[in-house]
């Protein structure tokens, strides 16, 4: 063990007000194996973590280390092989309707226009038409898609598709947002804008967010806390608090020495051999 780790842990500033909030998601000694051609392969092991309400937790680590698996287990799409995933104190069994999922590909329905796509979760919940329309208008404004409600996904740019997917995700108001590299395919400017909006929205709507990313800068810019995974079979090797505050300006962060310090520290964690 070398110095950067200690440096991070000793800087034990509290993570805003959310540190004392109730726990939403808990992993208890969770491991997950997949059977590939009859051979069990361990994807992740010994995962222990508690995530508090209202936290935006970013998750980084090499490919195939089980980051996405973690989200899938919270959503109840996978069961852990051993251990337990608790949601508000209860073991997750089957689909967890209090979570919403957003992946790199937006999975908008190509046969519905933007308004129609946002309507899907509302239709499923049986929201009456008039109320649905009002809610859709509200969401369109929230994500900045006013005037595009009649466009089909194929007519939208990548950023607009993301906004539409985000609006759909927010439409059914899930308590916890599970985001698996949602902005990975966007260009740099657009990514920062989407990050800014996601951060603002998550604070405004008081959402708990689990956000998987490959991008270290993104992990620091967005997170209240960053979980660092080891390579396969993955486990959480570091739980790094990111005390950049609730009112951070993600664009201005680029000029913030604290931000650069945190990014640098994270780099050292994920490349431990760098000074060897």
């Amino acid at each position: 063990m070398n110095s950067p780790h200690i440096a991070i842990q000793s800087r034990s500033s509290p993570i805003s007000a959310t540190a004392t909030a109730p726990t939403v998601v808990s992993f208890r000694d969770v491991s997950k194996s997949f059977t590939v051609k009859g051979v069990a392969k361990q994807a992740s092991h010994s995962i222990n973590v508690d995530i508090q309400q209202g936290q935006l937790v970013t998750i980084i680590g090499p490919s195939g280390c089980g980051k996405s698996t973690l989200l899938n287990m919270v959503a109840g799409l996978f069961c852990p092989t051993t251990g337990e995933v608790l949601y508000r104190g209860e073991a997750v069994h089957g689909v967890n309707g209090r979570t919403g999922y957003m992946t790199q590909s937006d999975h908008l329905l190509p046969w519905r226009d933007v308004a129609g796509n946002i309507a899907v979760p509302l239709e499923i919940q049986g929201v009456p038409k008039a109320k649905r329309e009002a809610r859709i208008r509200e969401l369109l404004t929230l994500v900045g898609l006013d005037g595009h409600e009649k466009a089909y996904p194929s007519q939208l740019s990548g950023g607009m598709r993301k906004r539409a997917a985000l609006a759909r995700l927010l439409a059914y108001d899930p308590e916890t947002l599970l985001m698996d590299e949602p902005f990975a395919a966007l260009d740099a400017q657009l990514r920062i804008r989407m990050q800014t909006e996601l951060f603002k929205l998550s604070r405004q709507l008081k959402k708990t967010v689990l956000f998987v990313t490959h991008d270290l800068d993104e992990a620091v810019a967005l997170g209240d806390r960053c979980l660092v995974f080891s390579g396969r079979p993955g486990t959480i090797v570091r739980d790094v608090p990111i005390p950049l505050g609730d009112d951070r300006n993600i664009i201005q962060l680029r000029k913030n020495p604290r931000y650069h310090q945190l990014c640098g520290d994270l780099w050292e964690i994920i490349t431990p051999d760098h000074d060897a």
């Binding site: 959503a75 799409l77 519905r112 226009d113 899907v120 239709e123 499923i124």
Partner: protein
């Protein structure tokens, strides 16, 4: 527009050479001639025989097409969503599928007689398999992640079917339907040729029996017209049911 003119020129060339070859080069008994065929066609229309017989074929084709397609979509949907059932039924379906459906005609004549029912059932059987197989593939091709995302929104099976599976399979369904149009006509026409006293197939057979080549060609033209009309109807229905497809097609392509 240029394409249209080009096509017109090709048609004109074919009919003109046919017209002039008939007589000096080829015995008109075998090939008749466009003018003669046109005359017979007008005769058929004027006497009302064309529409009387054509109507029978239209009814057989449409009713058979409708029930075959309905059954094909339903079974395709059920088996597509139920892998175990699909596995269980696979050998039966594969063996019936590999049978040329026309070979069932004699059996259907024994069972249902030589009336309109037999042609409808033959047509429906042919259409069923084409639509079923396409619907099944379409349902199997639905993205799993798409379904999971809707499940997280609280979707039940009926939501998944109406909101994702059906709309996403519909493109495949239409491939099956478009493919089926000429085959539906095979069912009706072959049925009529084998055993009937009504329908375009009968008209065709009757003209051939009287060695009336112009009559045979006139009946063939009627059948082609019917097929084209059906094809256009299916296309129109497709555009109507899939407005998003038009938007996609109009988008500029880039790689």
């Amino acid at each position: 527009m240029n394409i249209f003119l080009g096509r017109l020129a090709i048609f004109a060339a074919i009919f003109l050479s046919w017209q002039f070859a008939s007589g000096p080069l080829v015995d008109p008994f075998f090939v008749s001639s466009p003018l003669e065929i046109g005359r017979r066609f007008i005769e058929l229309v004027a006497s009302g025989r064309l529409f009387a017989h054509g109507w029978i074929t239209v009814v057989e084709t449409l009713v058979g097409f409708f029930f075959g397609a309905l059954a094909g979509i339903t079974v395709g949907l059920i088996l597509g969503r139920n892998a175990l059932l699909a596995k269980l039924l696979d050998p039966i379906l594969t063996s019936i599928y590999s049978l040329p459906k026309v070979a069932l005609a004699p059996l259907f004549i024994m069972w249902f007689g030589i009336g309109i029912e037999m042609k409808i059932i033959l047509t429906a059987t042919i259409v069923f398999f084409l639509v079923f197989l396409n619907t099944y593939s379409g349902v199997r091709a639905v993205e799993r992640e798409q379904l999971e995302i809707l499940r997280l929104m609280g979707a039940k099976e009926h939501h998944l079917i109406t909101k994702v599976v059906l709309p996403s399979a519909i493109q495949w369904v239409f491939t099956g339907l478009k493919l089926s149009v000429p085959y539906a006509l095979i069912g009706a026409i072959v049925g009529e040729i084998m055993a009937a006293n009504r329908g375009l197939g009968y008209l065709l057979q009757d003209a051939a029996g009287q060695l009336d080549t112009a009559g045979v060609f006139a009946a063939l033209i009627a059948i082609i017209t019917l097929a084209l009309l059906l094809q256009a109807a299916v296309r129109a229905l497709e555009t109507y049911l899939m407005p998003w497809k038009k938007e996609q097609d109009e988008r500029e392509m880039s790689v």
